[in-house]
Symmetry: C2
């Protein structure tokens, strides 16, 4: 029997609430007492303008419900069935970032009705219904409810870095499915980087030909992505990171760099020197033509110019650039970049685009340089800290929060979830608050490839989606986690690969199909968070991502449950099934020979579990841990600090609390 | 503990041989006694013309080795490492179907060398090396060996039907990876069908726009597929099925059909009436323009015109067509189709293409119709039986065998494996034998979608690949199965989804991640073979493919092992671990509540297992089964006949043999 089954058995207190497990939670749900059984055929009766979004979305929705119900819902001409009455007024224009996504959904005893201003609202209502589908007896149905729903923020984004490791079209298309399910509406594609130029240019084909090793998104791919995104109510914002993070451009165009070259595509990770030369007119001629081509390819009103992490080294080292700066009253790299941004701003305006960039583009040096701040209508994506968001909004810029949503850092869903773009105590006035458009999860791709990337994005990003959609008062972490596991299964069922990808790596590690023992171990591990993995081992673009740390997911559900269980016991709960608990803590199979890859980790886990059981026995009986037992527990805790293969035990703090309860508190 | 683990424990007699588990087996392998450890960096030293195939293939190969070894093999400038010396003379032109794919591979104590005439040989050698990689102690290496290898047949194909269920570009790209691993070299894309027109036409965009519901391969997709195929030494042969199987064309072009219409994309499966009208010149004008467009898109010298299963109904029902036939001395539908094919032949020749089609295009009615047989240079793909192959070859046509390779029929790998295109006793003379080019596995897509299709193709198609590559004398079924399981793991590791897709369906069925009990049950089930599933339930294009029968794979390895074990006991083997065996037979967890989806099947399996254990006890001890016990066993066997949810117990014949041994033979 597998760990997860045991967990379900011994943890009755982790039960679903009465409300349907919707994520994001709607603004208002009034639940009825009954439910509407879904009986085939399922018919959408649509009143409104012809909308490809509704038509294709309806087909997609039906097929997904049928997949889960394992029966055909198609209209075969038979009488009866389940009716969904859909009424909406207008087709949303995705170029209007304020398109209305609100909807009203009623599941009554006889039928379902959806009402919304735009066809986006219809998609949102269908996503809500998909999540509300539950088995009832031998069939499936929806709970009776009235939902009034609308998003809190208009910008609910996911950034996908397709550069550091290339992500093909299919990977992006399936993220769109996931985003639709949790009502996200901005896909931010990070398309150029030191490690790769990942988009086809017809104006300058040498860019992708020499900068990508054949791994790039074609313009045809982009058109498909943009269209499929639009069909799901999702905008696509392209990013061309300038003037730094740009080594891959210079493989074919060294003349645009601030040092002579030659350049190669970077294979390491970090911040590197190659930077555009802002002092040549040729730079702007080139960028005007390139960005013009891209402006025509991407219909979104926004174009992201990056602007982050220019280390200024090439500029400082070049006498010509230094002379130019002197002549133009630019006293440092920051001022020169501000000048560069001014030029880019004009180019983007020429092509009808609004500029968005990372924090740095909103900063102007106060060193007397002759450079103006960018106009107010640029949008700042805040990555470095909350201060950036506040100062940008105070300066009258729109702002999108990414600080706190860096999912590549492998932190907990709870931490991201509680990171509110606009908390009540934000030091902003009412007008300034309107500039906070929302947020974006960022999937930077140093340590993910197509096989494990879904496990870094999902399910945690669903918690971020809820933060950006639901009212700020929806912030109960335990409740979020309970729904998150359901959403995770739904994402799996519609084709996201967070579960499959992990098992694929485990099969490679184990060299066989049977991976339960290995999965039990990985289920309590988490990759070392932050960017510390880079200091533990050398990672380059050719490092295989098939290690334990690549299979382990951040904030694993199993570890969270182990921690809950330990905390319950510390809090005085009794324990009905000691043997299962022993297994959970790691004393059973963990030390077996089933884990040739990871015997050290298994041994440490097993020792920790044994000591924990002793502590639990002491807590549950009127005895105390002796000093020797406590010393042994402390030693096991010390040994369990890790990291092990760039991983930590995700539930270790709970074991620490158990130690404190059993060994340091007076009883 | 999972079933598979148990199997590995209790089945020591299923051990790998001494030879590396290569599939297809090379023409000659002389194994050494030692092995060469693979030490990073891994360097390919290439002597030969610049070949994108070798360069990209080398990168792909290295990354895949690194994935399995879980360590970086990149050249970081350090000394030492493993050297692979590659020498070849010419770049193969894929338009020459007789390009030389032979190679010599030597793994010696100090280095590896590859020698071949063309760069295709290099790819084949790399595939052989990938399969030969094995763990040795703490590292990985290759066994010392000298391999001389060349293919028996020049046409080693896989047909993918992207019509009945659409298969996106990514699905096809990953099949190319699988094909490369087992040295297949023809991808046959079945692009048009009653159920969908799946390729973009720029000449007639209404074809894919109205005939595909948005699910088609764009010309950009095709160019990528053709290029990636070429990089793997694989030709791409497109099929446009004419004149029948063509309802989807007529949605936008009813005027080309033999009856007025209107037409809709077909959602059922079978043989339907809609057929091109061969009596109008407009038909040929249209096809000339369309096939001309396709001829430019697909560089291969062959174009497949289908030609199968025209039921002639529309022709018989149309007075104008009947009158035309009378005027032209065509006495039946077969003669009219022969006339149509003559016209198509000229069109294909005009566009520089050789015609290939199913059996029917080689047949000319002997009813006195005024129609000539097609020229000798057409190629016949034989699907209906061995006779078709023989008569085609005798008529001087090249021929490709598909009869016996219909992988959609869910038959055993052994059956396909033993189906030799050119057995020694084939009634063909030496010249006629040269016309047998090879064979093609056919993945018809009535009952597969993107989630389960890989489980129908792999691993069985690797056995067909061996039949088409290796000498005919390589035909030991047990040996094939032993290697097949290794190849299956390799295919999983390089991205094929036969394992992942099954688990995805099982998670949907179970509604949770823990699916071991369900997998144990599915591992002894096989979808009802042949086309009988269509008589057991209604299947249309909208039937969800998330049932037990969609998760079950043909010829499951576990069932084969259960059968081996039973046969060993019948043959007199003793049994060291009765409890494990009891589990295998289905008496342990099968009946538990872990299987809410499938309690009936589990109960039947459990009863069967109990009776089988009684029989085994009787065989292992000097007792006999009493008449009552035998009657109960017979009853359990009867109940286990199925089908259950469109599945059968794949190991049932072994239980039948056990019954016979225990209850009908004198002891």
């Amino acid at each position: 029997m597998r760990l997860r089954t045991l967990l379900l058995c011994v943890l009755p207190f982790v039960a679903w609430g009465q409300d349907p497990p919707l994520m994001p939670r709607p603004r208002s749900v009034v639940s009825g007492t009954g439910h509407l059984m879904l009986v085939a055929p399922l018919r959408l009766v649509v009143e409104g303008p012809e909308s490809e979004r509704v038509r294709r979305g309806g087909v997609r929705w039906k097929a997904r419900l049928a997949d889960r119900m394992r029966s055909d819902l198609t209209d075969t001409g038979s009488a009866g069935g389940t009716f969904v009455y859909v009424r909406f007024s207008t087709i949303a224009d995705m170029r209007d970032i304020r398109s209305d996504g609100s909807y009203t959904l009623e599941v009554g005893p006889g039928a379902i009705s959806i009402m919304s201003a735009t066809d986006l609202g219809v998609l949102h209502a269908l996503a809500t219904l998909y999540q509300a589908l539950e088995p009832y007896g031998d069939g499936w149905g929806f709970p009776e409810m009235v939902v009034h729903d609308s998003p809190r923020f208009i910008w609910r984004g996911l950034l996908v870095d397709v550069c550091r490791h290339f992500m093909p079209r299919e990977m992006i298309l399936r993220q769109l499915d996931g985003m639709e399910l949790v009502k996200m509406n901005v896909l931010h594609l990070h398309l150029t980087e030191d490690q790769g130029f990942r988009i086809e240019s017809k104006e300058f084909p040498e860019l992708h030909e020499q900068g990508s090793e054949g791994n790039y998104l074609s313009q045809s791919d982009i058109r498909i992505i943009v269209h499929e995104a639009d069909l799901r109510g999702i905008r696509v914002v392209p990013e061309f990171d300038l003037p730094g993070h740009s080594a891959s451009w210079f493989v074919s165009h060294p003349e645009l760099a601030s040092a002579p070259g030659p350049y190669a595509v970077e294979t390491r990770f970090g911040v590197f020197g190659p930077t555009f030369d802002p002092t040549q007119e040729a730079t702007y001629t080139f960028l005007d033509r390139f960005l013009g081509e891209m402006a025509a390819l991407f219909p979104d009103p926004y174009m992201h110019i990056g602007g982050d992490e220019n280390n200024g080294e090439q500029w400082k080292a070049d006498q010509g650039i230094q002379a130019y700066m002197k002549t133009h009253g630019l006293k440092g790299p920051q001022a020169l970049q501000a000048y560069f941004n001014q030029r880019l701003y004009v180019i983007l305006r020429t092509h009808g685009k609004r500029m968005i960039g990372w924090d740095e583009i909103g900063e102007v040096p106060e060193d007397g340089s002759k450079v103006e701040p960018l106009p107010r209508d640029i949008t700042i994506q805040s990555w470095r800290g909350r201060d950036g968001l506040v100062s940008a909004a105070r300066n009258g810029h729109d702002v999108v929060l990414s600080n706190g949503y860096y999912i590549d850092l492998c932190k907990s869903a709870a931490e991201h979830y509680l990171n509110d773009p606009l908390p009540d105590d934000a030091p902003l006035d009412a007008d300034q608050r309107t500039h906070v458009l929302g947020g974006e999860a960022t999937m930077w791709a140093e340590l993910v490839d197509e096989r494990n990337v879904d496990g870094r994005i999902w399910p945690r990003t669903a918690a971020i989606a809820e933060r950006l959609w639901s009212p700020g008062a929806v912030n109960d972490v335990d409740d979020m986690y309970q729904r998150l596991e359901k959403v995770s299964a739904q994402l799996d069922a519609i084709g996201l690969r967070h579960k499959s990808g992990q098992l694929e790596i485990l099969r490679i590690i184990a060299g066989r199909d049977e991976v339960s023992a290995l999965k039990d171990l990985v289920d309590v591990l988490t990759p070392v968070p932050g960017y510390k993995r880079h200091s533990l081992a050398v990672h380059t673009t050719s490092t295989p991502l098939t290690s334990i740390a690549d299979a382990a997911v951040p904030d694993p559900m199993t570890a969270r449950r182990v921690a809950e269980l330990i905390d319950a016991i510390i809090g005085g709960a009794s324990l009905s099934d000691v043997s299962s608990f022993r297994y959970l803590l790691g004393t059973a199979e963990m030390s077996s020979d089933d884990l040739p890859c990871c015997q050290d980790i298994a041994r440490v886990r097993s020792a920790l579990g044994q000591r924990a059981m002793e502590a639990i026995d002491a807590l549950l009986t009127p005895t105390s841990m002796g000093p020797g037992d406590c010393a042994a527990f402390q030693k096991a805790l010390d040994e369990a600090q890790g990291p092990f293969s760039e991983c930590l035990f995700a539930d270790l703090p709970a074991f620490q609390r158990l130690f404190e309860a059993a060994c340091t508190r007076p009883r």
